[in-house]
């Protein structure tokens, strides 16, 4: 009985949570005049014109491609530098470890607007303005600390005896790390990858400041179109629906890592 009550609660929550997204979907299938004209539970005369526009105009679909490129680069960089660092924090005591660990997180604490001008000057100087790599590296500022923190939490959950046994068995550190340790924290890696992807995907200020045309992200395309033509709600809603898709695919791929959890019997 208890289990069922929980499930009902969960379904209720998810149902309510989906309402704004349903409304966005509803708007995306209507024309601007129709949206502003009258209240309608569902589109009486659904049109795919908004989606067609996004898929056929390069200014629109290139935004998705650009965002996907720099977000993927960012997630790869963040994970590959954060994994060894998180291991160091979870296993070793070294000079300044606690300060360093907390300092990392302080980089998420400043108002993002603070970084705009200095970043623009920095990346102009090295000639990286309007490249995907510039946005990917600038997003490391908030994603790397987060990745280290989340991974450290998962790694500390793995008993240290596993490391010791592996070293006694003659594993070298890189081999132990890749073949024994990483599989043990798959859940953590999955969650971290998703969060890096997500925070980089929705970030607008830095991405917009560091790009002009070649690497312009989708979120910036959306605001600019909005300001140029007045508000085209239907088009904006369609673009919004499409921004959800890549991230939903990512979580679909990592869902098993999150669900399987801890496999202690592996060693």
């Amino acid at each position: 009985m208890r289990l069922q009550k929980r499930t009902v609660g969960l379904i209720l929550y998810l149902g309510v949570m989906l309402l704004p997204i349903y409304w966005m979907l509803n708007m995306s299938l209507r024309t601007n005049a129709d949206i502003l004209g009258a209240f309608a539970f569902y589109p009486a005369d659904p049109t795919f014109a908004n989606y067609v526009k996004i898929f056929t105009e390069e200014a629109w679909y290139s935004g998705y491609i650009n965002s996907t490129i720099y977000v993927s680069i960012n997630t790869l960089i963040s994970l590959s530098v954060a994994l060894p660092a998180a291991y160091a924090f979870s296993r070793y005591r070294f000079l300044g470890d606690k300060h360093m660990f907390f300092w990392l997180l302080t980089n998420r604490m400043a108002p993002p607007a603070v970084f705009l001008l200095p970043f623009f000057q920095l990346y102009s100087t090295v000639g990286l303005i309007d490249t995907h790599i510039a946005v990917a590296i600038s997003h490391c500022l908030f994603n790397v600390p987060l990745a280290v923190w989340i991974l450290e939490g998962f790694m500390s959950g793995v008993p240290r005896e596993i490391d010791e046994t592996a070293y006694i068995d003659g594993y070298s550190f890189p081999r132990f790390f890749v073949s024994v340790f990483v599989p043990l924290i798959r859940a953590g890696i999955g969650v971290t990858a998703f969060f890096c992807f997500m925070f980089s995907w929705v970030e607008l200020l830095l991405a917009r400041t560091l790009t002009t045309t070649v690497a312009k992200p989708i979120a910036a395309t959306m605001t600019r179109t909005v300001s140029a033509t007045g508000l085209d709600w239907g088009l904006l809603a369609a673009a919004g629906i499409l921004t959800i898709v890549p991230g939903a695919l990512v979580i679909w791929f990592v869902r098993n890592y999150m669900a399987k959890g801890f496999a202690l019997g592996r060693v």
Partner: protein, 289 residues
């Protein structure tokens, strides 16, 4: 059992340190530089010492925005953390339900922040939005563009809708990382569900919950795009949170006061994050003893 003592671990941390330091230190220098100068034009500036800081600390509107911000972030933590843990506990452990609920939960997180504000403008409109129509249909006068309380409720709703899934996903991953043996032992001992939660699940979730609390505190304290797009800080100043005020300030005045304000802003977040961090660490060690 203590950690291994070895300064060579620095080599593992070095890439992270370099990558983040390059991005962090240059902006920091710039802001500190601006905060102590009055800039009239290129090459024409005077050193003003702590004048901007004194200005900012005695600014009444900044105080108002600060209290508003504390109230907002406090409510965010009080609502989102317990709700997120409840959702995580209610989620299925295996089967197709796992995939479905994980993917659905992630959806609000994936929408760019400015778009969230825009969608909620329509969603809450009393004439053509689902929520606005529903609330007015129930007989309440609801209009977030004129009533401060309604604006607050709308912004809170949007915030809880948007970010509770983050807490739920973290808590769920934390729950899944608990070895099955713990639950088997608890079953043999005949432990109640509450005891299982209190003595197994909650302590084991300490790590992920620390991250969840810190993340939600920092990000809600820095919240800008969503309320700005939805309410523009109004009606009046009722939803002008700190970062909205900071942007108003920096467009209306010099970079000097805005830079001083940014530093104060940062120090407040730093202080409270540190307090939360220490408190959560100590809760954990208390359990272990």
């Amino acid at each position: 059992m203590g950690k291994w003592e070895d300064n060579k671990a620095w080599f593992l941390v070095l890439p992270v340190f370099l990558l983040v330091a390059i991005s962090a230190i240059i902006p920091l220098m710039t802001v500190v530089n601006y905060s102590v100068q009055d800039i009239f034009g290129p090459g024409d500036r005077i050193f003003v010492g702590t004048e901007w800081f004194e200005d900012m600390l005695s600014n009444r509107r900044l105080h108002d925005a600060l209290w508003r911000q504390f109230l907002f972030s406090g409510l965010v933590l009080l609502i989102e953390i317990p709700l997120g843990v409840l959702i995580a506990l209610a989620m299925p452990k295996r089967g197709w339900g796992v995939s479905v609920s994980l993917v659905l939960l992630a959806l609000p997180l994936l929408i760019p922040w400015n778009v969230i504000g825009t969608i909620w403008i329509i969603f809450t409109r009393p004439d053509i939005g689902l929520l606005g129509v529903a609330i007015n249909g129930l007989g309440f006068e609801f209009d977030h563009t004129s009533a401060p309380l309604d604006a607050w409720i709308t912004v809170m709703l949007m915030e809880v809708w948007h970010w509770t899934p983050l807490v739920a996903l973290l808590a769920y991953a934390g729950l899944r990382a608990i070895p099955e043996a713990y639950f088997q032992a608890a079953r043999i001992d005949g432990a109640s569900p509450w005891a299982v939660f209190r003595y197994i699940q909650l302590p084991k979730m300490r790590g992920v919950l620390t991250i969840a609390v810190l993340l939600r505190f920092m990000d809600s304290f820095l919240i800008y795009a969503e309320p700005f797009v939805l309410t523009g800080g109004g009606p009046g100043n009722s939803t002008t949170f700190l970062s909205i005020y900071l942007v108003k300030l920096s467009t209306a005045m010099d970079v000097g006061p805005a830079a001083a304000f940014s530093i104060i802003y940062f120090l407040i977040i730093l202080l409270f994050s540190w307090l939360f961090y220490q408190a959560l660490q100590n809760v954990g060690t208390g359990d272990r003893q």
